[in-house]
Symmetry: D2
Subunit: 428 residues, 4 copies
């Protein structure tokens, strides 16, 4: 069987290809020379399976899409506090190249506009790193998200340096406020080189999938940055990623995303997929016209909007069944299923609290459960503790050991079995 997904992506591209609105960025000659008709999409599962369509293997410079990744590197290398002291997290409501800082704090408002991205660049690598070391950290760090060493487009880099007046203004302003301490022209040059890294749409999908996968590159398996760093990066992408159209993007597309001036867009659906899109013509916000349309289409078709509540789940608590054992013993078995998070564990607790078991022996059947998050684990163990104190003998049926380290409070250890079996009769 051929997967229907590539065909679906082909169809999405066909639908959007007719839109020839917008214009290729022309402030850099090398960018202006791009073939405006190029169009590509790629979707990567969190295991690294990539579906792609259109010009998905064509290289282009990463530009602003590098911003969330250097921000991630800065957070990884310097820690949350040090980075937050230098760069804010509030949407700016202004253009990507604005020359202003947050009132009062004199920080760049967020890392997704140039002023914040230049600052973030200087925070990659350990304090005291040389310029060359820092730059290597940026290149290898961003490459780690893609899962391959990325090259620099030297022609675009040179071309951009010739018109880098605005970024030079920003860097000198940052220096004047002591947000950066490095030589301003050097920072701009290195930042422009960072933006000149060559990626394909497929790369974007894999980089996004690394974020969707909690920081683990799906193909190489490398934990590029921690889960906490990913959370911070995705949060900031949500409110600041799409330039001054952030609110509009959140309501209509609802995927944390970042766009770049060469026409790329990267989108992340946490836990599910990474998305890359590419088409060079830009709207007045600087976002790829057809790229935005593709994302809107994917969001609508795939139900990817982050505020779309999943349809009310059938209860994780399937109910209880009573088992009759030797010597008139009876046991009440609660069957759980699916992914257990707070809301699921609450269902279990709620059920037991409102309809007391009434049986001496109680079991929680986790056979159909395939994931328990930490808060749910704590709630289940607390339930075990309370049931035990209430006089019940508690058993966990957990063939896959989904509930790790099953020790409840007060040192209580429930019996753990693969399938139900009558154990020793409990004391009554």
């Amino acid at each position: 069987m051929r997967s229907p997904i590539p065909e679906y992506l082909d169809e999405v591209l066909r639908t959007c290809a007719g839109d020839r609105a917008g214009a290729v960025a022309d402030y850099v000659p090398e960018l202006a020379a791009a073939d405006a008709e190029q169009l590509a999409v790629a979707v990567s599962a969190v295991d690294g399976t990539v579906y792609e369509a259109g010009d998905s293997r064509t290289s282009f410079t990463i530009q602003s899409i590098s911003k969330p990744f250097t921000y991630a590197l800065a957070l990884a290398d310097r820690g949350y506090e040090a980075v937050l002291a230098k760069i804010g997290v509030e949407p700016s409501g202004e253009a990507f190249n604005e020359l202003s800082l947050e009132e009062g704090s004199a920080r760049p408002r967020n890392p997704m506009i140039n002023v914040g991205a230049l600052a973030a660049h200087t925070l990659a690598g350990p304090p005291g790193a040389s310029r060359a070391e820092r730059f290597e950290r940026v290149v290898s760090g961003i490459s780690a998200f893609a899962g391959r060493r990325l090259e620099i487009d030297e022609a675009v880099c040179r071309s951009e340096m010739e018109t880098a007046h605005r970024n030079l203004a920003i860097a000198h302003m940052l220096r004047s406020y002591e947000v950066i301490e490095e030589d301003a022209p050097h920072v701009v040059e290195d930042y422009v080189r960072q933006c000149s890294l060559l990626v394909t749409t497929r790369d974007l999908a894999l980089m996004a999938a690394t974020l969707a996968n909690g920081g683990v590159q799906p193909v190489t398996g490398e934990q590029v940055v921690s889960r906490d760093v990913v959370r911070q990066v995705l949060s900031v992408m949500t409110t600041c990623g799409m330039y001054d159209a952030a609110g509009d993007w959140v309501t209509t597309v609802g995927i944390p995303a970042k766009s770049g001036v060469s026409g790329g867009i990267l989108g992340v659906l946490s836990g599910q997929v990474g998305i890359g899109v590419f088409s060079p013509r830009l709207d007045r916000h600087g976002n790829s016209v057809r790229g935005v349309r593709v994302c809107e289409r994917l969001s609508a078709d795939m139900g990817l909007h982050m505020m779309d509540a999943p349809a009310p789940a059938r209860s994780v608590l399937r109910g209880g069944r009573v088992l009759h054992g030797p010597a008139s013993r009876t046991a009440l078995v609660y069957e759980l299923q699916g992914t257990i998070q707070f809301a699921g564990a609450e269902r279990l607790v709620h059920g037991i609290a409102h309809t007391p078991p009434g049986h001496n022996e109680v079991a929680l059947d986790l056979t159909r459960v395939y994931s328990i998050n930490p808060v749910a684990r704590r709630m289940i163990l607390e339930t075990v503790r309370r049931l035990t104190h209430d006089g019940h003998a508690v058993t966990l049926i957990d063939p896959d050991r989904v509930l790790s380290d099953p020790v409840a409070g007060d040192g209580i250890r429930p019996r753990v079995v693969d399938t139900w079996e009558w154990g020793e009769a409990p004391a009554t």
Copy 2:
């Protein structure tokens, strides 16, 4: 067994009670008289089970927390386009009572600041409704979220009207730009009455749970607003709900939320829980000091941050097993489990596409599946169609009929059974 959740909530309140920073809002005498020590939290499951602690049954005026709800009513009554023509969705980066409109469009920047909330108030109810009809729509509409008829605190209302200069300025400004067409002082008076609706922390939790539950009030079962309206409201709360600290809130708490000047905060975790918190002392942004701390604690403890990827799920595709039947027939059964969304369906498609079944008969076992969203349903049916065209006889094992209306493209209808049974031998 007593549920451990109330105890947990008690403990959270104890931890946060010591923080006496901030000050009670004093611009309205009646608000200034509030007991600053009050502290409450309530969490409602999407079935209406409410856990509460502290002063959760104490009434206070809803104030700005009414904003997302009148916005929801406006969207429900006038439609997305009509409302968007009058009120934007971008974060403002300014104070809640700012006197300015979006440049160019001359719209309020979003419905979570006063200027947008006053405009939203006038859009509740059908066009042409009388003032009294519109106000009744607002009261009954907000009450529907709470599941009970809310009363108005006339004393606070009168007290606020005496110092409503700023809101009068805003309303007259809106009138001068023709964003509103009603008499400005009337609009302010009705808006102040709307803000004077009395709620408890428990009410907030249930109102939030209605949003978390796709617009269905968990107790009354009423579909108060549609799922699309909820999505829009939650999106706007995400970027604009917590005044000018929206970015900070998204990164640290990560729950769509709205706060009010009397000290309440309402938070929504879509599909999971609704949260209400209350404590009168406010920080400089106008958010309840202890309310914010409680939310941060809940978010951290419960893993509620919306950018927290769930731990990589055990595959929804548990694998296949080969069944041997009569007359040397063999069938390959793919076992699925859990909630199937795009990413899960992709796993199935991927598995089948990369490892062709190699058996004449193929079954998809949905016994352990408890939810399939529309895109996943379409992908599964497309898989059925392709397998069929590839010459396989396809069976769905779906005792709970989780896959609704199982007709694939080209009119193909797979066999559906409750448990595996060998049917008629397929043609080969």
Copy 3:
């Protein structure tokens, strides 16, 4: 002989009449009905002689040209400090109807924009005056500048009240910041009535002449406000009078001025003339298109720009002549002429200091002097004192007693004569 000035003014109007750019203000129906072709100019000497051309006797509503006059009344009635505490003096760089206050001080930026003019209106009259008393003070005060009781155009007033949303917004904002303490709608109503006072272009010229004449109405002779108040009003008109084109106006026209939305412009050349111009079509700044052209023409033709240095004056010190008297007495007479201000007195002092008289008797001949300002008077008297201490017998030849109260320091009283005569021989 017929004066050539009216002919000159006729010619100026002819030159400017062809410019039909701009549009009549249309936000108030009654204003929109104005005959767009009307054109008038009037120039008043500081003695009240008025030269006029065009529709100079046509009435129109005074509108914003009332602003400097209520500001003057506020200064007169409450004093500089009380008014400055409420209203700033800095140019705003924004539109006349902006809804904002000075950061930090929360004052209107200046009294020439609506927000400041509304505040100024409430400061006219004594503290504690009733609303009716304050309004009467405004009408009679502005009328005193014109030299006749001005009437109100009730139709325009009513018409403006119907669209006064913006001013209502401003007034409520002022009330919310406690810049005004009165009922906001009342203040707007009275302010709109103030703006509806009917004036002619001739009135404007005489009102301007009152300012040019140090606050004394040239025809009635009434000291309407003090010289200090006039100085403050003219200073603020210089930097803030012509809306957001203040800098452009100062460089090109260079006359303190104020324009109004019905098409009037009032200009003041301190000590020389008052100017009124009227033509209804406005440019994008809200200034009369042909009015601005007339003012530019008058400024260029008449050399009225306030930064035009007068041609270097022939020295006020004409030189000295030696008189030979009885008994070999000789006297050195310094002849002065013209208006003596600091720079002129400095010439005298400089001359005497560098070329010591060398004669026992010294006279200052003030026959040709027709004005001495206070600092020049003090310098002349100090010169008398020093000459006396140096042993000279000093005489003032001052037939018109231009040097008032001629007592120098140390009680020294020079001899004062109408024409030179040899007095008693001084002691040597």
Copy 4:
């Protein structure tokens, strides 16, 4: 006799010396090293006589006081239009080193803030001049105002370059908007050198006197820039010279002025005096604390406020006297006096127009007149023409030939005499 002016200046300094508020600028180490107690004042008459007190011969770097002079050079070298296309004339209401341009035009708002001063620097000298030529033009041009070749403080220059981040940011921003076309770091370096020119307080007074004297350096006699350029420069200094306190300065001091960060202030009273003041401690606006106080004192004492109307002049028209001549001839003689500008000429015209001469022979006695400006000259000649057409024989008594080129319209040439004498009998 010793001039009392130095003593007066000494006394002013004594009064202000006690004010030790403010702080020496510390952003440049070399500036921070200044002796904070220094205090000086100098006043220059328009003939170059300088009165000085305190440390008036101490050198300090000119800093921002160079701004009006490079602006003057730019106007002189490129013309009004070319300069206005690049630099506006509106007050900015913001700090001297703001990083923003006028909305819409993308010009610096005015030449008195850094962004405009950097642009003005590049406009000095002819288009196409080399960098060295342009810099020499700036140095020699500013020196010409002072009347001596100014030196550069290389230590301050180097020190400032090390902390010139903000100016580099501004220059790169200007380059990005194509307001400047030169290499941004070069422009900053040259601008910093311009600001490092060493001046004394005495120099400031003479530079100011050059502006007060219509562009003619009083000592060297050089016409450094034209009268029109001076008018433009003084106009802009009036509204933009004292940073963001421009309105306050105009109302309280009322002298076009410019201050610098090393503590200098330069003030110009057109036609009268140039003022220099110096004391290093600055207020929060960046103006010298004691310098401002000295200027306030001088303004109040000397009556220098530009909006102070001169005391109403005794009429320039002293009246008429009738002369009786031979053969029953009679002549009416109008005696004029003082400086005749528009208002004065109007008095003459008014008198003649309202009280027709009634004599065949008419004379205008200009003996006591010492200055007539162009418009007054034209009005007098027009009067001569009209009197002649009315049948009068007109004579000018003008011993000093104050009325240049006395040819009226229609080729009419009045008789000109030194003192009255009966000429040929006119035809009747």
